[in-house]
């Protein structure tokens, strides 16, 4: 046993040396001291304090963060989330946790309603002039009067398919229920997007609050489950690139990247219509670094930043000035920048209230949870047939 202990201590020492590569945050062995040291080094290189940013995963050109830190002398505390739903409870529990966040349309609406956001002082964000006026108008759909949101990206939801692996023309959500593609499709793993697909196929609004319509959609999604290879959000991209599925429900912003990595991939917005979405930056109601948050927003509105972001994350930008730098080939690709006509077929999500949200989630859980089975016997199924 002694040997183990000696070993352990040596391991720790070695690891500490390894970690020592991490520049300034050297030696103290207590977290408190560690904090203090970090604060001191920070004060030296970041005279203007910090800004706490909460963004989607891989949703910014990371060199922009460093550029911002250097230029403004502000340290960026950067964190990521995967879905709007995952972000919300953290902010609701403590609105001062982050200063700036990048949620989507309906979530911004929800946060405005629940008083979690503060109005942006537009005099501190002069670069907002770069934004496409049409886009600013559409944003009013969930942010009346453009008071809270700096638009960041926008797009549609559609089907990404592999030309080599599909045999029929893809133009409808109904292919996602086609047995030929059993175990060969990837479905979105977020409540609203999944229900949007089923509701649109049924010819309903994706903001439906009618319980019968939702029940119908739930049944449809349940039928789809055995055909689905995986439910995913960000992994859709990698799986499609690796040829591991023929169809995948995906955000339009991922299409360009996927197409460049794998030429056989094409993107379509089904004829039944789809969702038009906007992601935008907002400042939390109890942000502790309001001044710096505005600087962050203004920085991202620069044409150069927006262009760098487009190059990196390939999501359509609403930044008019940046568009001038973008290759016209991309600008004219309706998969990347949807046409007016395409946008009109699509609907923006609305925040439907706490009760409806609970219902959507409850139904989604019923889709995804396993059937009750006691050695193959399902007491609930029997009740239904009786």
């Amino acid at each position: 046993m002694k040997r183990f202990a000696v070993l352990g201590i040596v391991i720790i020492m070695i690891s500490a040396v390894l970690a020592g590569c991490n520049g300034g945050t050297g030696s103290p062995f207590a977290a408190e001291m560690e904090n203090q040291v970090q604060e001191e080094t920070r004060a030296a290189s970041y005279p203007n304090g910090i800004v706490k940013v909460f963004n989607w995963g891989e949703y910014i050109d990371e060199s922009l963060i460093q550029q911002f830190e250097r230029e403004y002398g502000i340290q960026v505390i950067y964190d990521t989330f995967t879905t709007n739903e995952e972000m919300y409870p953290k902010i609701a529990a403590n609105p001062s946790l982050y200063d700036v966040i990048c949620p989507s349309d309906y979530m911004i609406e929800k946060m405005i309603q629940n008083g979690l956001l503060q109005k942006i002082d537009w005099t501190k964000v002069p670069n907002i002039k770069n934004m496409d006026q049409l886009c600013m108008e559409r944003v009013q759909d969930f942010d009346p009067g453009n008071q809270y949101t700096v638009p960041y990206t926008w797009g549609t939801v559609g089907i990404l398919y592999n030309k080599k692996m599909v045999t029929t023309p893809i133009d409808s959500w109904s292919v996602l229920w086609d047995e030929t593609y059993a175990n060969n499709m990837i479905m979105q793993d977020s409540v609203r997007d999944a229900f949007m697909v089923a509701l649109k196929l049924l010819g309903y609004s994706c903001n439906s609050t009618d319980e019968n319509e939702l029940q119908e959609a739930m049944q449809l999604l349940k039928e789809q489950k055995p055909l689905v290879k995986a439910y995913a959000i960000d992994e859709v991209r990698d799986k499609m690139i690796n040829d591991s599925a023929a169809l995948g429900v995906i955000y339009s912003g991922e299409y360009l990247y996927c197409h460049e990595e794998n030429e056989d991939l094409a993107y379509v917005v089904p004829k039944e219509g789809s969702n038009l979405w906007f992601d935008g930056w907002v400042i939390t109601s109890e942000a502790q670094n309001v001044e710096n948050a505005h600087k962050w927003l203004d920085f991202l509105c620069r044409a150069e930043s927006a262009y760098a972001n487009f190059e990196y994350i390939t999501y359509a930008t609403p930044n008019e000035a940046a568009k001038e730098m973008i290759d016209p080939e991309y600008l004219n690709d309706p998969g990347v920048f949807a046409t007016e006509e395409r946008m009109d077929k699509c609907e923006i999500y609305k925040y439907l209230g706490m009760e409806m949200e609970d219902m959507y989630y409850e139904l989604w859980k019923q889709v995804k949870a396993p059937e009750v089975s006691i050695f193959g016997w399902n007491p609930f199924a029997e009740e239904e047939t009786e």
Binding site: M1, F4, C21, N22, E235, N242
Partner: protein, 256 residues
């Protein structure tokens, strides 16, 4: 003889099972590019690893949290064992069952319940919350390792020392403590390992911008983990393995 061969084969199979994924991780850390296909040998991920501030920060956090929480848990655990040893009857059994709760309770419930408390009492999430959580689930392991040793210590030697004029503290450190050392060390090592490998509890108690390797990896899982993580694990794994082999050699040499 046949029995010996069979048992050898059995152990080998189990080790193949345990180490197959690790070997693939190591192999893919030398892969060119991302993804599951082998595209040729390259050291790019090792370069990227040392350039990535995020991974280095996470590594540092992981180690500092593991070391600090293991040290504090070991100290508190050992002190309580001494006190616990003089408790009797019902008090002792209540104490021990309270101590068992974090181990019987799933990590999920421990993590969630701590999160609720931190929120309810307005304790801001950050290093302190992660440390408190880690210490809480480490102490029971320390007590479990030290208690059996404590029981084995012979009270009469301690009493003899006191009779001969040693102060109780001096007698404790001279007589009792040396006997506890192996238990304390294994408790420390166990805490260190548990803390190092923990994901669930950290996930619920971490603050903004603070990642340990586990939480960083979890946030990357959805997008596909970058092989620079594999590179880091390879380095950690190989260094531990080398230490193990060297110390085993030395021990053998020493015996001969």
């Amino acid at each position: 003889m046949i029995k010996k061969i069979c048992s050898q084969i059995y152990i080998t199979l189990i080790f193949i099972f345990l180490y197959a994924p690790i070997v693939t991780l190591i192999i893919f850390s030398f892969n060119q590019g991302k993804g599951g296909q082998w595209r040729g040998f390259s050291l790019e991920w090792y370069r990227e690893l040392f350039a990535s501030e995020m991974i280095m920060d996470a590594l540092w956090n992981t180690l500092i949290i593991a070391v600090v929480s293991a040290i504090i848990a070991t100290i508190i655990g050992t002190i309580s064992c001494i006190g616990l040893n003089s408790l009797r009857g019902k008090a002792k059994s209540i104490y021990l069952s309270l101590n068992n709760i974090p181990m019987l309770n799933s990590e999920l419930v421990t993590g969630l319940s701590l999160m609720l408390v931190f929120i309810a009492f307005g304790i801001g999430f950050g290093y302190p919350t992660i440390l408190i959580a880690h210490i809480t689930f480490c102490i029971p392991y320390v007590i479990l390792s030290v208690m059996p040793r404590m029981k084995q210590t012979d009270r009469s030697t301690y009493e003899a020392a006191v009779d001969l004029g040693a102060t109780p503290i001096y007698a404790f450190f001279k007589v009792v403590f040396p006997e506890l050392v192996p238990g304390i060390l294994s408790g420390f090592l166990l805490s260190f390992t548990m803390s190092l490998d923990d994901f669930i509890i950290t996930y619920f108690t971490r603050g903004p911008g603070i990642n340990t390797l586990s939480t960083l990896i979890y946030s990357e899982v959805r997008k596909g983990i970058k092989p620079s993580m594999n590179a880091l694990s390879t380095i950690m794994f190989v260094s531990v393995l080398i230490l193990l082999v060297v110390s085993n050699r030395k021990k053998k040499d020493g015996m001969e």
